[in-house]
Structure formats: structure tokens, C-alpha cells
């Protein structure tokens, strides 16, 4: 048989590895800055593009798509070539994948701090960037499938299956969740509204965890752990069961992010059932990874690579035990909206993804540069400080989550809340935020030590070159099954059929959940008193989206006595029918805002945005001074309303024609309301006089951003507000 010679493309792997290191440090630095903003809320006072709400999506996107994403590409490009005994299909495509992905990351790093966001978690990027992501992903998939078609290895190793499932599912998720109608080049509205938007978003959000942070990394685990331990995977049979059951079940579990919300009960229950089932394949995979080290545990003592991998797989096991537990309604009732969830995701990100990446880097770099690791003690130091960092990050967040959630729910014997002031519960967990910041710092220090170690290793090594390999060409044996060939053996050498089967497996769950919610009218009972936002409120809502308020404030009062007592009537599905996108949120660093409308005076809101600590002592909300200064650009209001009409929001032609006048009238009324406060009158008039005397342009209050924001906040939840809250504003619930 003809032996062919070819070269493995190592340069593309090297590029992705360098990008991983760079973006890893950036993503973690932003995370650390955010952690310190809990303690010093006005750390970046007055700088809009460094405010918490805008940086939070930057942190999550940088870590998920830049750090973990680039590492995934590096690992996939390295292992795929070797498992298929072929160079990647096209160098041009590999490079397009690399540079396109970096361009997207840079675009995200610019647009997110500027406030261009769709507000849907982990899918915040606006539509032009979404299109770019789709294009780059298609090229990645094409390149991958092309490589499979020119492979020299007949059968496809299980890691390749995991990569395939990743490629297909991420494409499906990204496209369906990002469907939006553009208003302008950098503004769009989700085509789904309210409950439906929430369901699609968390079908996406959950499966971004499943198919971006999990399946590709399981593929990497199935390749790199055997490599590092120098023995085959514990059970290849188990890996087949692991793969199919995991992708089949994972896709259903999304609704566990929406327990006790306004999502129909049947969908919630379905999500719970599948989430509990998920523990079986997840732990199957974990056990398979750990037992690969059977008889090689002595190596773990000396090899930093294996140390990292063992903690990574253990972290996977912990996170995937916790996930099903958190999906139980009684546990979710406590954990949801609290720091417990932050602990959970960081066990996944820091231990499972982070440590597997570190292990992979320590294994790959010396091999690719044909040298030894510059310093093993340094790698061991990284391991220990990283592990302690994870513990010091996660444990305080568990304590914080429990403590705060239980305080939220505690009643006096007379039926009133013990901690009626939300801030009391925040104050209680401040020491935990301190510890978290220290844990995060330790983890970052470890990463920086690795960075130095890697740079030193690369410098001492030889120049990176593409690796020569040889293998016999694959004889054509035709697509049909050979005599005596079993069906699955045939399937294991048929990439296209395997891809189609995996696609079917992941589509079943999505279709069964999403289509009925979109189509069946009875899922969202209409409420006649719910009307569309006025143009000014709509503009205010877009400011709420721009500032990332949803990162800390939910708009979802769950049907618990403690929440109804604190916030007001629980949320109804019919209240959100005009919410493109939904803004339910997933974390309550501050109180829920669903029923905040009418609770405080307009002046209170103005003062609160200017200096949150002045109205709410001990608040950890940063000030939003620029909202109070900035002139509000409302020029797109009519276009926005027209897009909303296309999406089914019943604005009449009259409403649209009168948008300008309506905005002006509502804004003028709010300005008038603000005059109730003598302090406001004094400083506002002073400012006006100053501007006149110095010949500066003066922006009237009614034309500023804050007025639209107040209009929106005062509208929130008032459509079905049952009892008017007459309590004094200073209670800060």
C-alpha cells in the first residue's frame, strides 16, 4: 500500500495557544476587577465603559469564547490531525478561523464596554458580530469535515464525535437564539418576546455550557488524558454510552434556569427531569477519565500535567453533581439568583475548563518546541496556588449564597420580613466578597506564573515547525456496508451519517420544548391591562439594556411568600408579551425590579443614580452620573417602534406619528415632578445659570438620558400592580 508523507500543521495550534494565554489573562483580569467592584463599588467612578454592568458580559464572553474558545480550537486542531492522520483540510480556512475569531473577540472587547448589547446572557453581541460568528463557525466546521473526508484513519475516535457534536449544536443554538430584527447597525430586538425569549435564551445558555464548555473538552479529555498518562482510556465502551446519552439528554435541560418563573410548568418539569438524568452520563464520563489513571497514580505525584487533569476531571464531577441538585425545585428556590450559582459556574470554569487547559498547555508546549518545560517546580506552584484559589473562590460564594437566600426568606412571627431592607442581606456577605476576590487573585497569579514558564520554555526550545508524518492512504471501500460489517462499525467510519445522527439526537429535545411554547397560545395567557411601552419608556428600556442593569437586577418575582412580601405580586407570563428581549435576569446582587414602578419618587431615582450610597446607605451599586449628564439621543424611536410592530407589538400608525410629541410630553412631566425637590431645583438652576453665564450649551433635564430611564422604571410592573405600595421610600426593599 502506498505510504504518504504529510505535515501536521503545528503553527495553527501555536497561534491558538498564544491567543488562549493572552485572552485568559485579560478575561481573568476583568473578572478580578469586577470582584473588587463588589467591595469598592465606585472603583471606576464616572467611567461609563468601565462600569460593572458593561464589564460583566465582557468578563463572561472573554472567559468563555476567548480563553476557553481559543483553547478548544488549539486542542481540536492538534488532536484532530493526529487522530485522522491528515493535515487540516485547508490552511487558508484554519487561518481564517483563527483571525476571524480574534477579530470577533476584539469587536466584543470594544462594543460591550460601549454598551452595544442584546442583553441575552453569553449572546450579548449585536447582530453584525453574530453574523461574523456564524461565518467563522461555518468555516471551522467545513475545515473539520473536509479533514475527516481526506483522513487516513478509517474509524473515527470518540473525541472526533464530541467535536462533531460541538460544531453542529453550537451552530444550531447560535443561529436560533440570535434571531433578531435590526433597528440600526448596532441595535436589534430579539424576535422572541418574554417567556418565549426566556426559553430560547436558556435553551441556548444551558447548551452553551453543554456544547461549548463541556463536549469539546470531553473530546480533549479523551485525547489528552490517555496521552499524558500513556495508557488508553479506561473504557471505550463507556465512552460511546457517555457520548450518545450526554448529547441526547443535555439539550433538554435548559428550563432548569427558569424554575418558578413564568415559564409553563410542563416545560419546567421537563427541564428538571432531564437535568436529574444528566448525572448518569456526566459521572460516567468523569469516572472514565479518572480511571484512565488506573495503575498510573504514582505519576500524578510527579507530573504537573496529570495533577491539573485530575483536578479538572474532579471539578467536572463536582459541577455535574451540583447541576442536577440545583435543578431540583426545592434547592433551586434557595440557590437561584444568589451567589451559589456564581460558585457553581466558577467550579466549572476554573477547575474543569481552566485546569484542563493548563494541563494541555503544559503537555503541548514542550512537545511542540522539542524541549523540556522550563521549570517543573513553577508548574507545581501554579497547580497549588490555582487549586487553593478555586477553593477560596468557591467556598465563600457557597456561604454567601446560602446566607443571603435564607435571609431573604426569613419571617418575623408577625408575618413581616426580618430583613426587609435588601441591603442588610448584602452587608452580611461582604466578608465573603473579600475572600472571593483573594481567591480570584491567587488563581490569576498562578496563571501569570504559567505565562512566564511557557515563555521561558518556548525561548529555550527549537523553532516550531510543522511535523512530518507518514501513513498509508485510505483504500476506498465504498459507502455501503461490507459483507459481515456491523451497522455501528460502518457508522463509525461514515462521518456524514454520524453527524446527521448526532444532529437528530440534539434536535429532539429542542423541538419538543420550544415549538409548543412558541405555538401553543394557552402557554401564555393574555392579560388585557398589559399595554406596550410608551416611546419614552421603550427608549428608557434600551438604556437599561445598554447599562447591563440585568446583570444585577432580576425582573422576575417568583411565587413565594417571601418574594411577594418583599417585591409585590408575583410575575405572570402575560406581563412580558411586549418584552423584546426579556429582562428576567439571573442574579440578584441588588433587589428585583419587576414591581419597582411607583415605589419611589422620580427624585429618589435621580438621586439614587447620581449617588446610590446617599439614598441607600451601604449600597454596592455604582453611580451612573453620565445618565444624568448625557443628552439622550431619541432619534431612532420611530424606527424602533416600526421594528416592534413587525415583531407583533400593537403600536398604531397614530402612536408612531405621535412618538416625538409623546416622548416630549412624558419627559416634561418627569422634569416637572423633579421640581418637587428643592435640592434638585437649587443645583439644576445653578447649573443652568452657570451654563448661560459661560456661554455653554445647556441640556434641559427632559432631554437627558435619566428621564427616559426613570420613565421606564416607573412603568415597570404597573400594568397589573394590585396594591399600591404606600410605604416610605427609604425602606429600600
Amino acid at each position: 500500500m502506498e505510504i504518504q508523507q504529510f505535515h501536521y500543521d503545528n503553527k495553527i495550534v501555536q497561534k491558538f495557544l498564544y491567543a488562549t494565554l493572552l485572552w485568559g489573562v485579560v478575561g481573568m483580569l476583568v473578572g478580578l476587577l469586577l470582584a473588587f467592584m463588589f467591595i469598592f463599588p465606585n472603583l471606576t467612578d464616572g467611567i461609563s465603559w468601565l462600569s460593572f454592568g458593561r464589564l460583566r458580559p465582557l468578563h463572561t464572553n472573554a472567559v468563555i469564547f476567548a480563553f476557553v474558545g481559543n483553547a478548544m480550537f488549539a486542542g481540536v486542531y492538534y488532536s484532530t490531525q493526529r487522530l485522522l492522520k491528515a493535515r487540516m483540510f485547508s490552511d487558508w480556512m484554519s487561518n481564517f478561523n483563527f483571525w476571524g475569531w480574534q477579530a470577533i473577540i476584539v469587536a466584543a472587547a470594544i462594543t460591550l464596554p460601549l454598551g452595544y448589547t442584546s442583553s441575552k446572557e453569553y449572546a450579548e453581541l449585536e447582530w453584525p458580530i453574530d453574523l461574523a460568528i456564524a461565518a467563522v463557525w461555518v468555516v471551522f466546521g467545513w475545515n473539520f469535515i473536509g479533514t475527516m473526508l481526506k483522513r487516513r484513519q478509517r474509524h473515527l475516535y470518540v473525541a472526533i464525535w464530541f467535536y462533531l457534536a460541538t460544531i453542529v449544536t453550537v451552530a444550531v443554538l447560535h443561529i436560533f437564539n440570535s434571531l433578531a430584527l435590526p433597528v440600526s447597525a448596532m441595535k436589534s430586538y430579539s424576535v422572541y418576546a418574554g417567556v418565549q425569549d426566556a426559553l430560547v435564551q436558556w435553551w441556548y445558555g444551558h447548551n452553551a455550557v453543554a456544547f461549548f464548555l463541556t463536549t469539546p473538552f470531553l473530546g480533549l479529555m479523551y485525547y489528552f488524558v490517555p496521552k499524558a498518562a500513556n495508557r488508553p482510556i479506561y473504557s471505550y465502551r463507556l465512552s460511546i454510552v457517555h457520548f450518545w446519552s450526554l448529547i441526547f439528554i443535555y439539550i433538554w435541560a435548559g428550563p432548569h434556569h427558569l424554575l418558578y418563573s413564568s415559564l409553563p410548568d410542563w416545560a419546567q418539569n421537563l427541564g428538571v427531569a432531564f437535568s436529574v438524568m444528566l448525572i448518569a452520563p456526566s459521572w460516567g464520563g468523569m469516572i472514565n477519565g479518572l480511571l484512565t489513571l488506573r495503575g498510573a497514580w504514582d505519576k500524578v505525584r510527579t507530573s504537573p500535567v496529570l495533577k491539573f487533569m485530575v483536578v479538572a476531571i474532579t471539578g467536572y464531577g463536582m459541577a455535574t453533581f451540583e447541576g442536577p441538585m440545583l435543578s431540583l425545585k426545592n434547592i433551586n428556590a434557595i440557590a437561584h439568583f444568589s451567589d451559589w450559582i456564581i460558585a457553581h459556574v466558577h467550579v466549572g470554569a476554573l477547575a474543569w475548563n481552566g485546569f484542563l487547559i493548563f494541563g494541555m498547555i503544559y503537555w503541548l508546549i514542550p512537545r511542540m518546541f522539542k524541549t523540556r518545560l522550563h521549570s517543573t517546580p513553577m508548574a507545581n506552584f501554579h497547580f497549588w496556588i490555582g487549586t487553593l484559589g478555586i477553593i477560596l473562590y468557591a467556598l465563600p460564594m457557597y456561604v454567601a449564597g446560602f446566607t443571603q437566600a435564607l435571609m431573604w426568606k426569613e419571617f418575623n412571627p408577625d408575618g413581616t420580613l426580618v430583613y426587609g431592607n435588601f441591603l442588610e442581606t448584602v452587608n452580611e456577605i461582604m466578608p465573603m466578597y473579600w475572600m472571593r476576590a483573594i481567591g480570584g487573585t491567587m488563581y490569576l497569579v498562578g496563571t501569570l506564573v504559567m505565562l512566564y514558564n511557557i515563555i521561558a520554555t518556548v525561548r529555550s526550545g527549537s523553532k516550531l515547525e510543522d511535523e512530518l508524518a507518514e501513513a498509508p492512504a485510505l483504500a476506498r471501500i465504498g459507502g455501503r456496508r461490507k459483507a459481515g460489517e456491523k451497522y455501528h462499525t460502518w457508522l463509525e467510519r461514515r462521518p456524514i451519517q454520524l453527524t446527521l445522527l448526532a444532529t437528530v439526537a440534539i434536535l429532539i429535545g429542542g423541538i419538543i420544548q420550544i415549538i409548543p411554547t412558541l405555538l401553543v397560545k394557552s402557554n401564555i395567557p393574555t392579560i388585557t391591562s398589559v399595554t406596550p411601552y410608551t416611546p419614552l419608556e421603550l427608549e428608557g428600556r434600551d438604556l437599561y439594556i445598554r447599562e447591563g442593569c440585568v446583570g444585577c437586577h432580576s425582573q422576575m418575582v417568583r411565587p413565594f411568600r417571601s418574594e411577594v412580601e418583599r417585591y409585590g405580586e408575583y410575575a405572570k407570563a402575560g406581563e412580558f408579551v411586549y418584552d423584546h428581549p426579556f429582562l428576567w435576569g439571573s442574579k440578584r446582587t441588588g433587589p428585583d425590579l419587576l414591581r419597582v414602578g411607583g415605589k419611589y419618587s422620580d427624585n429618589w431615582h435621580l438621586n439614587h443614580f447620581y449617588d446610590p450610597q446617599s439614598t441607600s446607605s451601604g449600597s454596592i451599586m455604582p453611580s451612573y452620573k453620565w445618565l444624568i449628564r448625557n443628552k439622550h439621543d431619541r432619534s431612532a424611536a420611530v424606527d424602533k417602534m416600526r421594528v416592534m410592530v413587525t415583531l407583533g407589538v400593537p403600536y398604531t400608525e397614530e402612536d408612531i406619528a405621535g412618538a416625538e410629541a409623546s416622548m416630549d410630553a412624558q419627559a416634561a412631566q418627569i422634569e416637572k415632578n423633579l421640581y418637587a425637590d428643592p435640592e434638585f431645583v437649587r443645583s439644576y438652576e445653578e447649573e443652568k445659570t452657570y451654563a448661560q453665564q459661560n456661554g455653554e450649551e445647556f441640556i434641559e433635564m427632559k432631554d437627558r438620558e435619566i428621564v427616559a430611564m426613570i420613565a421606564y422604571l416607573q412603568r415597570l410592573g404597573t400594568d397589573i400592580k394590585i396594591e399600591q405600595n404606600t410605604e416610605v421610600a427609604s425602606e429600600n426593599r
Binding site: Q153, I233, W266, N269, I508
Partner: protein, 62 residues
């Protein structure tokens, strides 16, 4: 389990759901386990050795 029952009863045509889901799951896992257990030992050995096969990679100076 009253809470589960109460939620379940509120769904129209609930009776068909268990049948459909049982069927989907039964078929899915039966096929999966059939796949796994009918695979021969040699095939498994060949598959699991794939990542460790470095024979085809040549050092640069050859």
C-alpha cells in the same frame, strides 16, 4: 409527591406523554447498548489505542 401530581394533572393529554417518552428512551438506549455490547474486543482495542499511536509521526531530522 403531591406537588408533582398537581402539576402533571394540569397538562392536557398528559396520558400520552409517558408512552411517547418511554418509547423514545427505550428505543434510544436499546440501540445504544446494542451498539456497545456487540462491538468486538478487537475493534474496541483498535479504537482506544488511536490516541497513543505515534508510530506514524516522524522526527524532523529523518
Amino acid at each position: 409527591m403531591k406537588i408533582v401530581k398537581q402539576h402533571m394533572e394540569s397538562i392536557e393529554g398528559i396520558a400520552t406523554y409517558p408512552m411517547i417518552s418511554l418509547l423514545i428512551f427505550f428505543v434510544f438506549f436499546t440501540l445504544l447498548f446494542w451498539w456497545v455490547f456487540t462491538t468486538s474486543k478487537e475493534r474496541i482495542k483498535e479504537m482506544e489505542e488511536m490516541p497513543l499511536d505515534d508510530q506514524h509521526q516522524k522526527p524532523f531530522d529523518q
